[in-house]
């Protein structure tokens, strides 16, 4: 009687076509649905109130020489069959250019695994009126004066229900929920534009959790402060120029970890796979295990098992279990982010389990999970106490780094002078720059657990066609010496 085939039938159909073609391996990911609700209030009006659902099926196959990937949003049996056939055709065509066999690691596979985000209050069931009331109230509080030309309060909820099966007998299902919210005030005077966001920029903070996470942000209280600071920044002095002591707040340090550690230790970049687009890495493969990446205070892990992170899951999109991988230990590079192919190309026997895809329509790539800088033992005040003259910066405003992840320049929304161990006046348009290894080697003190926060980042781009990954970064506040800062 027609109707849509079941998830199991679609997985079986696509796998069956791929296997019958004689490929060495095939896996199928079916997402139904991936849902995204975005509610935003801008200057008292609705801004892009969206409830988006999509479904799809992605088939990936491997011959002895090459991968092939094809995807469709049409969840019919006929489409599943034709999509699998195209994946096979692509792999065969690509294999013509491959001089050698394609290696992969042999990892344990899940058999009927299940993973689900623990949620106390399902964000998709919260009445829209309640969310919009929260946003409207918070957005109104941003407007502390006529200089605040624009206010924005937004809420996002994302969920993905995924089923995975492979020709190696792997199968799992997962249901992951992410939520987040934030506010942002833009103050303008002449050509001076100042923005202040809370809890941080680019949509706020996000977690793998239910609506209870949003309720705990304290959006309305943070909004009034953000509005006042945006206005005050219009009158603030420019950030001083020179080499100085720098204390970074947790949210900016999370971005620093993302750009100058996370991307740099992606093994596909290190081995040249991303050279034509995102770039490569200053890390050379032969230095893994002994490279002096930073000071002895630097400890970084990639932890896909961390509760609440956007990079937390049961299995990656190759069916490899989530892992906690040391990346930097006491300043030495000891690990990298890897997938089955790239781990094998480096000579590793197991994948690090970080192959992730944006959705069913994209092939998995090595992506960050939750790449965290581990906390030290100094309080925030103790970090400042060691500074006679310096600056404190928080909340990213601009970020740019070269294609080997060496030369960076980051701007933040706000800065404060540090004078004799205490926070002083606001400074506007702060920029700091440096080279990745010198910067991390200059870190002389790391804040304790009280300064540490696990941030959710929803906009990490990579790959062709482009993909956006949702990743996590835990970071404390930390202190650096002799950093080049200036006012933009």
């Amino acid at each position: 009687m027609g109707g849509r085939p079941s998830v199991e039938d679609l997985l079986r159909t696509a796998l069956g076509v791929a296997e019958a073609s004689g490929v060495m391996y095939a896996d199928v990911r079916l997402v139904a649905p991936q849902r995204y609700v975005h509610l935003a209030v801008r200057n008292g009006s609705a801004s892009a109130l969206t409830d988006a659902r999509r479904e799809g099926l992605g088939v990936r196959v491997r011959t002895d020489r090459a991968w092939g990937f094809a995807a469709t949003s049409d969840l019919s049996a006929a489409s599943a069959r034709s999509t699998a056939r195209i994946a096979v055709r692509l792999a065969r065509a690509a294999g013509r250019t491959a001089p050698n066999r394609l290696p992969v690691t042999d990892d344990p596979v899940p058999k009927g695994g299940r993973y689900a985000t623990p949620v106390r209050r399902d964000p998709f069931d919260v009445p829209r009126e309640e969310v919009l009331s929260l946003l409207t109230d918070a957005e109104a509080r941003l407007h502390v004066g006529p200089e605040v030309k624009s206010g924005l309060a937004s809420f996002q909820a994302w969920e993905e229900t995924k089923s995975f099966a492979s020709s190696a007998g792997a199968s799992f299902q997962s249901h992951i929920v992410h939520v987040g919210a934030g506010v942002s005030a833009t103050a303008v005077r002449g050509s001076s534009v100042q923005r202040r966001s809370a809890p941080t920029s680019f949509g706020g903070d996000f977690a793998q959790a239910g609506f209870e996470f949003v309720e705990g942000i304290g959006l309305a209280e943070r909004a009034a402060t953000a509005g006042r600071e945006a206005r005050a920044l219009l009158s603030a002095r420019a950030c001083p120029t020179g080499r100085t002591a720098l204390v970074l707040g947790s949210d900016q340090l999370a971005l620093q970890v993302h750009e100058s550690v996370g991307h740099a230790v992606e093994l596909d970049r290190i081995l040249g796979s991303e050279a034509g687009f995102a770039g490569t890495s200053w890390v050379r493969p032969e230095t893994i295990g002994h490279l002096d990446y930073g000071s002895s205070a630097m400890n970084v892990v990639a932890d896909a098992t961390e509760p609440g992170g956007l990079g937390t899951f049961g299995w990656d999109d190759e069916g490899v279990p989530a892992q906690r991988t040391p990346i930097v230990q006491a300043g030495t590079l000891v690990g990298v982010l890897s997938s089955r192919e790239w781990a094998a190309r480096l000579g590793l026997s197991r994948s690090g389990g970080t192959a992730r895809a944006q959705g069913p329509e994209r092939s998995p790539l090595i992506r960050m999970t939750n790449v965290d800088l581990l906390p030290g033992d100094l309080s925030f005040d103790e970090l400042l106490e060691g500074v006679d003259d310096g600056v404190y910066l928080e909340t990213n405003r601009s970020w740019s780094i070269d294609d080997k992840r060496l030369n960076f320049q980051f701007g933040t929304e706000v800065g404060r002078r540090i004078v004799n161990g205490e926070l002083g006046d606001l400074v506007r348009n702060p920029l700091y720059s440096g080279m990745t290894p010198e910067f991390w080697r200059s870190m002389d003190a790391v804040g304790n657990r009280a300064t540490w926060h696990l941030w959710g980042v929803t906009n990490c781009g990579k790959g062709q066609p482009g993909q956006v990954a949702r990743v996590g970064h835990g970071a404390p506040a930390a202190r650096f010496r002799g950093i080049a800062v200036r006012g933009g």
Binding site: E55, L90, L132
Partner: protein
């Protein structure tokens, strides 16, 4: 006796009906087909195909707007998405400047340059294009490391609304990029080339492969101290600057919220008289797009007319808020695009009459820049952006390219760059994202001064 005409059902358009008193709606159906063949380390490593459809509904309950999207185009899927949009509209804050959906004269197809052949290329044919790029680069520089991608795609867009608008348009794109490098050199040296066209037959894979390989410097890159330099920007570098200039200067949101770097400069001279920048989605010199995502027919917009700054661009909501006319720049209304707002995406800078050699010859001391990387906004109000040079930066002395330079970071206002344009190249090329959604058509150019604020190690 006439026989009744049997019409096929049109569930997409029918879903707009019966919304109830005081309600209206528009809807988009986007069908895409894309093939990407990526290569790295001299072999094809990520071949990709996708065929995707999604529908978005925006319902206005009076002046309250809600949007929902789905990839399920069955009757059930369309009913669900309509109800979701309506549910959001019912509780949305009022948008007082919403002027209603624009009327249309019934079904129409807006035709722009389009290649059926490109749109229907097989996976094997696109793979062949990638192989041709690889072979051409390898022939010029055997043993080098070659990476890049060939992208081919099409989009079919149909927009309907409850005021009778029903428009369709199709677009096609073929795009390729290639990087050739010699990684064992320390510091490594690399060369780059890219190009795009709506007609895949006009993409020249051999030329791109050869060009990238020929641009790989044979000598060791030298350090250049940061500072202000006269620069020759190849089109692949200038296209990035122009894209940021267009957003920072002409975004409807930027105008509305006061952060546009041109807010107080409309009608004023911002570039030399010989500079004209248009947004021209109908032109065969871009990746054409016939309608925007609200169904407004696109048209040529002068952004900089002989050096004079034009107005910001609009969609339905910004036109209402700014009391301007619709310019046909609506992004999809759903997040995240709706948040981004209207912005020019089919830029064309006029050509000049200089060859690349002539651009260099006019430079006593400066730099030739092939490409920028990771360009980001530092200060929107002043139009300041930053980014790194990449894949082919060369020193110019006494009018000649004398060798490669290690890469540098620039931090400069787009307004300073536009104002500093001194000479434009005669050959223009189309630079596009992989899906053809935004493109910049530009020649190379000589710029009086670009401020480099730091340098990297390679």
């Amino acid at each position: 006796m006439s026989r009744p005409v049997r019409r096929s059902r049109d569930p997409f358009a029918e879903a707009l009906g019966g919304l109830g008193e005081g309600r209206s709606a528009d809807a988009r159906r986007v069908r895409t087909r894309g093939i990407t063949i990526r290569f790295a380390n001299g072999r094809i490593h990520q071949p990709h195909f996708d065929e995707l459809t999604h529908v978005s509904f925006r319902v206005a309950d009076g002046c309250r707007l809600g949007t929902a999207t789905t990839s399920d185009t069955s009757d059930r899927g369309l009913a669900l998405v309509r109800e979701s949009a309506l549910g959001l509209a019912r509780v949305a804050p009022v948008e007082p400047k919403f002027l209603g959906f624009p009327a249309g004269g019934g079904p129409s197809v807006v035709r722009v340059p389009f290649s059926e052949l490109t749109a229907s290329l097989s996976p094997e044919a696109v793979t062949k294009l990638a192989e041709r790029v690889l072979a051409a680069a390898e022939e010029v520089l055997p043993g080098s490391r070659i990476a890049g991608a060939v992208n081919v795609g099409q989009e079919e867009l149909r927009v309907v609304n409850s005021a009778g608008l029903d428009r369709r348009s199709r677009s096609s794109v073929a795009q390729a990029s290639v990087l050739v490098d010699v990684p064992e050199k320390d510091p490594p040296v690399s060369g780059w080339s890219e190009g795009a066209h709506w007609d895949g037959a006009r993409l020249d894979p051999e030329r791109l492969g050869r060009e990238a390989a020929e641009r790989v410097a044979r000598s060791e890159p030298k350090s250049v101290p940061p500072g202000a330099y006269r620069v020759v920007l190849r089109g692949s570098a200038l296209s990035d600057v122009l894209a940021f200039f267009a957003h920072l200067g002409f975004s409807g949101h930027g105008e509305e919220e006061g952060w546009s770097c041109l807010r107080r400069r409309r009608g004023a001279r911002i570039a030399p008289e010989f500079v004209t920048v248009t947004d021209d989605p109908r032109s065969q010199h871009t990746i054409p797009q016939g309608i925007d995502y609200e169904g407004t027919a696109t048209r040529r917009t002068a952004l900089v007319d002989h050096g004079i700054a034009g107005p910001a661009v609009t969609d339905l909501l910004t036109a209402g808020r700014l009391r301007r006319e619709l310019t046909g720049h609506a992004p999809p209304p759903e997040a995240p695009w709706g948040e981004f707002g209207p912005s020019p995406a089919h830029l064309v800078l006029n050509a000049g009459d200089a060859s690349e050699n002539e651009l260099v010859r006019e430079t006593r001391r400066g730099l030739l820049v092939t490409r920028f990387h990771y360009v980001r906004v530092v200060d929107p109000g002043r139009g300041v952006i930053t980014g790194m040079t990449r894949d082919g930066t060369y020193r110019i002395e006494r009018g000649e390219v004398v060798g490669p330079a290690r890469n540098l970071r620039f931090t400069e206002s787009v307004l300073t760059i536009l104002r500093g344009l001194e000479l434009l190249g005669r050959e223009r090329r189309i630079y596009s994202d992989e899906a053809g959604g935004s493109s910049v058509t530009t020649p190379s150019a000589a710029v009086r001064s670009l401020r480099f604020t730091s340098a990297t190690l390679f």
